[in-house]
């Protein structure tokens, strides 16, 4: 839980994803606590990376959302967005 308390500006999100038979995860949409659901149009890259803006580290999904690129991180067990 400590990671949650660390940075109040970090946006943790609820994620809907496909968990593929090969063990990989494909996020489909996410939603912050008080925000609307955001549909991910395409995931263009998946890799382990640090989050320099929001703080933290995890599997970074580079997502295309309505023509904009943003990073969705999975730092187990948390998901957060870096805009």
């Amino acid at each position: 839980m400590s990671a949650l308390r660390r940075n109040p500006q970090k946006i943790y999100v609820k994620v809907r994803a496909d968990h593929m038979p090969d063990g990989s995860t494909r996020p489909l949409m996410f939603r912050s606590e008080d925000g609307p659901a955001v549909r991910i149009d395409r995931v263009t890259d998946v890799r382990e990376a640090p989050s320099l803006k929001a703080g933290g580290q995890g599997v970074r999904y580079t997502c295309l959302v309505q023509g904009r690129t943003l990073y969705l991180f999975h730092d187990e067990p948390y998901w957060f967005v870096e805009d």
Binding site: S2, N7, R47, E48, A49, P50, L52, G55, G56, Q57
Partner: protein
């Protein structure tokens, strides 16, 4: 086959992880420190900015703040450091199954194999260094050599985010002028003894007569001389290797000094509970109990006693420890901290001589009770069941001896 060993050392590990997870403090001098209220108010680690201001590991927070008033002190988050350390080891494990952890922030990796040259080792080291920075966001220093001692020395030579290669045919020129304390296992006491012989550099130690060193330092003397000459065949223990445990112990600096025998009893019960639980978890019995206490002048004394029979029951270990404390430490109050450790370990399924006059039924009941308590604590946390003795003092009752004190470098000679 030529051995190629890497030693990876995460730079200012705790502080780096803190800065990674809290971007607001990234450009400030940062130190991870214990809690002042709990009397653990010392600097555990600091980042490069704090180091430049002269902040040192191990000094009191107030001393550090005198040198660096803008120092940001953050409390340690051990679960996060453990989790992050596993991420580093997952990367190391992609290069070799032979990875040996030395604390949370250091690991040896044995990348030797058919056709792997020293130059390959340097290339792998550089790849690991880049991956840790790009994938995890912290930096490591890597030493490359043909043994663990030199690899460790190499990782200390260039920091941060660097690789230092100590090739078998060229390491002497690189290390012989370094202070002898830079060598692993040469602590301040050994360095002082060596200085009396005029041995202050690794080169001087390497050239020193083995007999003279033996008379000064015992069997460790010739061993350290061999290390200085780059001779070490200690294997890198793989992750899966089950270590031969030599002792199980724990110590704590409670929120206030131990002033009375009741305080001591309370803390010894706390420590005995954690030690006994770890013995049971490892399937061990102990035959010897050792108690140590540190006075408020920071002088540590320890005494030990042998038990009539091997045990892993809290009551028996705590009983022996409190009796020992009453006998040996009764006149030195107050004490700042206390420790308890168990040695002469045997497997718990080894046959033991039962006592005809003793009450075996009571003992078996105690064993069942302690197993039940272990089960409850595993499910609901350590504080779910506590002894009445411990609850007599609210300060002590908050200490969690199991979860807060289990991070130790692993003994290199283990196994």
């Amino acid at each position: 086959m030529e051995r190629v060993i890497l030693h990876c050392d995460a730079n200012s590990y705790y502080a780096s992880v803190e800065c990674l997870y809290t971007p607001q403090i990234r450009d400030k001098p940062v130190a991870v420190s214990g809690s002042v209220e709990a009397r653990h108010g010392i600097i555990l680690t600091r980042n490069a900015l704090a180091r430049r201001c002269g902040v040192k590991t191990g000094e009191a927070i107030w001393q550090a703040k005198e040198k660096c008033p803008e120092l940001v002190c953050v409390p340690p988050d051990f679960p996060l450091y453990v989790r992050f350390s596993e991420k580093m080891r997952r990367i190391y494990a992609q290069y070799s199954p032979r990875v040996e952890a030395f604390g949370l922030d250091e690991s040896w990796i044995d990348v030797s194999g058919a056709g792997v040259t020293f130059a390959d080792g340097v290339r792998i080291a550089d790849e690991i260094r880049c991956r840790i920075r790009e994938e995890l966001g912290i930096t490591v220093s890597v030493g490359v050599a043909n043994n663990k001692i030199l690899a460790k020395l190499g990782s200390d030579m260039k920091k941060p985010d660097a690789v230092t290669a100590l090739p078998p045919d060229g390491f002497r020129e690189m290390i012989f002028d370094l202070p002898v304390q830079d060598l692993l296992f040469v602590g301040p006491a050994t360095a002082r003894k060596l200085a009396r012989l005029g041995v202050t550099t690794i080169g001087a130690l390497a050239r020193c007569d083995a007999g003279v060193l033996h008379s000064l330092l015992g069997k460790n003397g010739p061993l350290l001389r061999a290390y200085a000459n780059g001779e070490d065949r200690t294997p890198v223990m793989p992750l899966t290797h089950r270590r031969c445990i030599q002792s199980v112990g724990n110590s704590t600096t409670p929120p206030h000094d131990l002033r009375t025998p009741d305080d001591a009893r309370c803390v010894l019960f706390l420590l005995a509970e954690s030690v006994a639980a770890r013995l049971r978890e490892s399937g061990l019995h102990a035959r010897c109990v050792s108690v140590s206490a540190r006075t408020t002048e920071l002088i540590t004394r320890s005494h030990q006693c042998t038990l009539a029979r091997p045990t892993n029951l809290t009551g028996e270990i705590a009983g022996a420890a409190t009796a020992l404390f009453a006998e040996r430490f009764a006149h030195g109050f107050p004490y700042r901290s206390a420790g308890l450790s168990c040695t002469m370990l045997t497997a718990d399924d080894e046959p033991i001589q039962l006592d005809f006059m003793g009450d075996e039924t009571r003992r078996m009941r105690a064993e069942r009770l302690e197993n039940a308590i272990d089960g409850l604590r595993a499910r609901y946390g350590h504080q779910i069941v506590q002894r009445g003795t411990v609850l007599l003092d609210r300060g002590y009752a908050r200490i969690n001896p199991v979860e807060e004190h289990t991070i130790h470098p692993v003994n290199m000679y283990a196994g």
